[in-house]
């Protein structure tokens, strides 16, 4: 704009058309990428929308034709649906609370000097490198199994009766497993953020009479607020669609006690072969994800502004 203002004679008459032709040029050059994106995002979306209003069951070819809103009606009035929404919220909220809360404390801890810090840092980050299916299997069979599990052995060693975690507290156990997977991510992001904290600020706070707790609350936490927002946003995106852990450990059960929205859609489509119903679930999931994203983006944008 400044350049244009600086040379009024040059830009005087052909300004409009020049800008338009440059705009067209830009569009042409960008279009292959945009087209590819459209093909990959909009086409599946349209197909999902289309199937969600069709009668389409893989095991019953006779069911055909337009279903109207009956797929949606069937889904939204299904008590399993509300349960799955609740479970999704508990999973996301629980994992976020644990990974951000504990992650902040661990980040502060791992920022201090202590012997073996390098190794400890690698260890705390390592769960992130284990793929979800393996992590879930590890917890299910090695750690929490009522007969062979390490925890069961530990409980028996002190005379307690082992708990079958995955059938007694399926959702809480899942929250624990997923939090174990995501805690490293939070620690990693928050640790790098904490390292950028100006030490003179903490020293100034110390001279102002702030103890460790006051320094943490008044200096460290505000400094971390952006990083925490980023962690919350990224984790939420992934946590909304947790699937592997559920599929491997509880298969959504007992009953629907550990079924979240993603697993509900999967069970509709590939356990009950109801493509129409599953597509309706998919559309609902898109709506839910967009609502969450709208809130998150607004919060993040506000936090990243200053």
């Amino acid at each position: 704009m400044d350049k244009v203002a600086g040379h009024p004679p040059v830009m005087a008459s052909p300004a409009g058309s020049a800008a338009r032709s440059r705009g067209l040029q830009g569009f042409v050059l960008q279009s292959p990428a945009i087209m590819l994106l459209l093909a990959w995002s909009v086409v599946p979306l349209l197909m999902t929308l289309w199937y969600s209003v069709r009668n389409y069951n893989l095991v019953d070819p006779t069911q055909q034709g337009f279903a109207g809103i009956s797929n949606y009606w069937y889904l939204l009035t299904d008590p399993d649906f509300m349960t799955s929404l609740e479970n999704t919220a508990i999973l996301v909220g629980g994992v976020l609370a644990i990974s951000v809360g504990l992650g902040t404390l661990l980040a502060v801890l791992y920022n201090e000097e202590f012997a073996g810090r390098g190794i400890a840092r690698i260890l705390v980050i390592s769960p992130f490198f284990i793929m979800p299916t393996v992590a879930a299997l590890l917890w299910k069979n090695l750690m929490l199994h009522p007969i062979y599990g390490v925890y069961s052995a530990m409980m028996r060693a002190v005379g307690l009766t082992p708990v079958d975690w995955l059938s007694r507290y399926p959702l809480a156990t899942l929250v624990m497993i997923v939090a174990w997977e995501w805690l490293p991510f939070a620690v990693l992001i928050l640790l790098t953020a904490i390292q950028s904290l100006d030490t003179e600020q903490k020293e100034a706070a110390r001279m102002d009479g702030a103890g460790m707790v006051a320094q943490f609350i008044n200096i460290t936490l505000p400094h971390l607020s952006r990083a925490i927002t980023v962690v919350i946003m990224i984790e939420t995106i992934f946590l909304l669609t947790i699937f592997a852990e559920i599929s491997v450990t509880t298969a959504g059960g007992p009953g629907v006690a550990s079924t979240n929205l993603a697993f509900l859609i999967y069970s509709r489509a590939l356990l009950q072969f109801d493509v129409g119903g599953a597509s309706a679930g998919g559309v609902v999931a898109i709506v839910v994800a967009n609502i969450v994203a709208a809130f998150l983006l607004r919060a993040v944008a506000r936090n990243l502004e200053t």
Binding site: E200, A205, R206, M207, D208, S225
Partner: protein
């Protein structure tokens, strides 16, 4: 206001001694400047006084009480950091309020005190701005305000002006000096800038490699540097130093000194000077007079005209370069031969170990001291 006393303070990191025994008594209301090249330990020493660094050995006394093991906040000090270290997520008011809030001061009193300080520092329009929205000079003032509101016994400044541009630095220097006069607080100020040291200090402590080289008023250090290090460090452009030999102890308390191409007679009371002993002759650029009858001859290499003064860089016949300060109306330009006279009563003589030799005449400005 308070006195601060350092008794043989030492600081050791691992096996390396950073501060090698510093002793100093700072009087009430005194403005003391620690000055020295980077790495001389001046900031470490300040941080030890502040309580941010442990004291390895020695005693630190504030108002006569040993505070080696007292928490920084309980020593009654306030510090202004080089980076200002303002809390970026708090506005100016909250920045200044932080320490008062932690100390549990009632809201009304906090408001009153911050209002007063903001008025002194002309920060009133910015109280709800965040540090990020302020200019460098304003941030500097907030940092000072944050120190003042605590009503400390001693102010500590760690190179507070080094992040400002030259014009602002000059302005803040004057503001700081007048603030000190108004508040009358004991102040310890660290800088590597000798102009700041000269203009603001009551006394200057010149540090080098963890050792005090000299302590004195600015003019003492300037006119009577105790050794070569101080002579080189204080003064801009720096003192001309020429290798010399003592040719003969002359009568009436003076000594004949010979450099490569000329000799001068320097008044000194130093006893036991032997002919032939190596020495260093020092003379400040402003104490060399251009004099057609002068004994020192040279060739002007570069002439720096600063308006009020002119600095002539002169090459002596033996290849040594010296700087001569003359009036702004000097018209000597490069490649002009000139003759000069060293003002003998202003010459300095250092022995082979770099220590200044005792003088027989006292500088008029220092006569009373």
């Amino acid at each position: 206001m308070a006195t601060v006393e350092l008794r043989n303070l030492r600081k050791t990191y691992l096996h390396e001694e950073i501060i090698k025994g510093v002793s100093l008594a700072i009087a009430e209301r005194e403005f003391v400047v620690f000055v020295g090249p980077s790495g001389c330990g001046k900031s470490t020493l300040l941080r030890m006084i502040a309580g941010l660094e442990d004291i390895s050995a020695g005693d630190l006394l504030i108002d006569g009480q040993r505070v080696n093991d007292t928490e920084p906040a309980r020593r009654g000090l306030a510090m202004v950091f080089q980076s200002y270290a303002l809390y970026p997520h708090m506005n100016v008011y909250r920045n200044m309020e932080f320490s008062l809030r932690l100390a549990g001061m009632p809201e009304a009193e906090r408001r009153q005190r911050i209002g007063d300080v903001a008025r002194i520092l002309q920060l009133e329009p910015y109280l709800d701005h965040r540090p990020g929205q302020l200019s460098g000079g304003q941030r500097q003032r907030v940092a000072i305000g944050r120190a003042i509101v605590r009503n400390p016994r001693v102010f500590l400044f760690d190179e507070p002006l080094s992040n400002l541009d030259a014009a602002l630095r000059g302005q803040m220097r004057v503001e700081l000096a007048s603030l000190h006069r108004r508040l009358g607080a004991t102040t310890i100020y660290v800088t590597h800038d000798q102009v700041e040291a000269m203009t603001m200090a009551d006394r200057i402590v010149v540090l080098n490699k963890g050792v005090v080289e000299q302590i004195g008023t600015p003019l003492e250090l300037y006119h009577r540097p105790g050794n070569l290090f101080v002579a080189r460090f204080m003064g801009s452009p720096p003192m001309n130093l020429l290798p010399a030999t003592i040719s003969a102890p002359a009568p009436e308390g003076s000594v004949q000194v010979r450099t490569g191409t000329f000799s001068v007679s320097i008044p000194t009371q130093q006893a036991g000077l032997e002919a032939g002993a190596p020495a260093t002759l020092g003379v400040r650029p402003e104490h060399i007079r251009i004099d057609p009858q002068g004994a020192v001859h040279g060739m002007v290499e570069v002439s720096e005209r600063l308006g009020a003064i002119t600095l002539l860089h002169v090459r002596l016949p033996d290849g040594q370069m010296i700087v001569v300060q003359t009036g702004g109306d000097n018209i000597d330009c490069a490649d002009t031969p000139i003759s000069m006279t060293f003002e003998e009563e202003h010459c300095h003589l250092f022995d082979a170990g770099g220590m200044a030799l005792a003088r027989s005449t006292e500088h008029p400005l220092l006569a009373g001291a």
